[in-house]
Amino acid sequence: MPSRVAVGLIAMLLGAGQSACAAPAASTVGGSITVFAASSLTHAFTRIGANFENAHPGAVVHVTFAGSSTLAAQIEQGAIGDVFASADQPTMQRLVNAGLVSGSPSIFARNRLQIVVAAGNPKHIGGLADLSRAGLVVLLCAPAVPCGRYAIQSLRAAGVTVTPASQEADVKAVVSKVALGEADAGIVYVTDVKASGAAVQGIDIPARFNVTADYPMALLKDSQDAVLAGTFISYVLADGQHILAGDGFAAP
């Protein structure tokens, strides 16, 4: 008798699994999509996702934030999602080359670098050259992630050599450690400084040393709901722009 109960349980589990798999077939306005977005988009895409859901009743947008290359690695390893929004072109190109993207990516925003310091700039940092000062705890992103690559480009353009205390795995870690007072300065995106509120402030990097980061966005090949995903991409390129601008992004 107990074994019959167990068999029944298994049958139920298997049945439930099948019906769950069969469910997401209909795709009109309703439905749900998963968006993989670079961590520098956290604030903007959280709001854009909410606005999109308001504008399209029945639609649900799940946004996952992480470093662009972490997300790309997850997608390469078969993470199921519908849209990828990267903080740099090479990472997007990696997925295009791997045949994981459908159509061609479109640039939806641009970002620039800024030096992040504690509010009030207690260490009197005026520009990139000051980052090489002895005794200063400076954080950069790891060279493996876009913000780290851009920071190296920018420092090289300015002819400044910086020995960072740490190469953080993503841009948010740099900002939060400066905000906590554990580091004196870091090189991050303008938008991250803006999103971090009153604890930190940004020091501009002159245009000739600065790097413009293009943010491309694309529909993923394995999208379960290409129609809704396409609608979301169009929404970001049109209605989403004022939110992106409000966070400090430049228009594409």
Partner: protein
């Protein structure tokens, strides 16, 4: 012999019944359970670029991370032994008010998300933290972004494994040997060194190895508290995580090294965790 020290953890010898004795649904579910653990390991093995594995492993970044990992995890184990053995002895032998709460706080890092542990360490030992500002002003000791910080993070996460293992050993040991030594005139310290610690040596060894293995695999607290810099705070797990961004092959090879080490630890402790062979 070993099992007498951990009656609550040692496994009784398995039955000699054949597979036919098991209900079929159980066999199926158990098979699925085993597959769940085996498949990810197979995934790593299948995708390992064996041809270039040697080259990837002996690259300077991999060797730097490996060396730092060994230094940090062994130092963490040494600190854990120094602080953890007396702590385990107090928990096992001394009744004091608040002991249950103290013990709960000691093992908290085992269930706390390591990243939360890292944030808590920053708030305590960071330069703006409870103790960190004082450490920096008075002793010039800076822990965040240093190897000492990585060791501290690993100790925080790994020491509970040593404490609970040694405490369990002390609780289940036969205290009559200690009583006998005392009645023969041995001083308290002599009893501890010559009788107690030798008797719980198996749990000391097991606890130290578990603690070391946990320290070796530590990621979240380290990257949060100590940051990531090659040669200073970038241990193997951090190197794996960042290698995944640029070179998945070397991430796989580094993962395999950690896997082999972990497996070796479990095989070494098989009497305790896998039952007598």
């Amino acid at each position: 012999m070993a099992s007498t020290f951990w009656p609550e953890m040692a496994l009784p010898p398995p039955d000699r019944r054949g597979p036919a004795a098991a209900p079929v649904p159980f066999l199926i579910l158990a098979g699925a359970g085993v597959a769940f653990f085996v498949l990810p390991l197979l995934g790593l093995l299948v995708r390992t670029p064996w041809g270039s594995a040697r080259e990837l492993l002996t690259s300077s970044e991999a060797l730097t991370a490996l060396r730092l990992s060994l230094i940090a995890s062994l130092s963490a184990t040494a600190i854990a032994l120094l602080l953890g053995v007396p702590l385990a002895w107090i928990y096992a032998r001394v009744a004091f008010p608040g002991r249950a709460i103290c013990r709960a706080l000691t093992v908290l890092p085992m269930v706390l998300p390591p990243v939360v542990g890292g944030v808590a360490l920053l708030l305590a030992f960071g330069r703006g933290g409870l103790l960190g500002g004082w450490l920096a002003d008075v002793f010039g000791i800076h822990l965040p972004f240093t190897t000492a910080g990585a060791i501290l993070a690993e100790t925080f996460v790994a020491m509970p494994f040593l404490v609970i293992t040694v405490e369990a050993g002390l609780r289940s040991m036969d205290t009559r040997f200690e009583d006998a030594a005392r009645t023969l005139g041995a001083r308290r310290w002599t009893v501890l060194w010559r009788v107690t610690l030798p008797l719980v040596r198996p749990s000391l060894v097991a606890g130290a190895i578990l603690c070391w293995a946990r320290a070796l695999g530590e990621f979240g607290a380290t990257i949060t508290f100590a940051g990531n810099f090659p040669g200073r705070t970038q241990t193997m797990p951090l190197a794996v995580y960042l290698a995944l961004e640029t070179s998945p092959e070397s991430a796989i090879v580094l993962s395999l090294v950690l896997l082999v080490v972990s497996l070796a630890v479990l095989v070494g402790l098989r009497d305790r965790w896998l039952g007598a062979s």
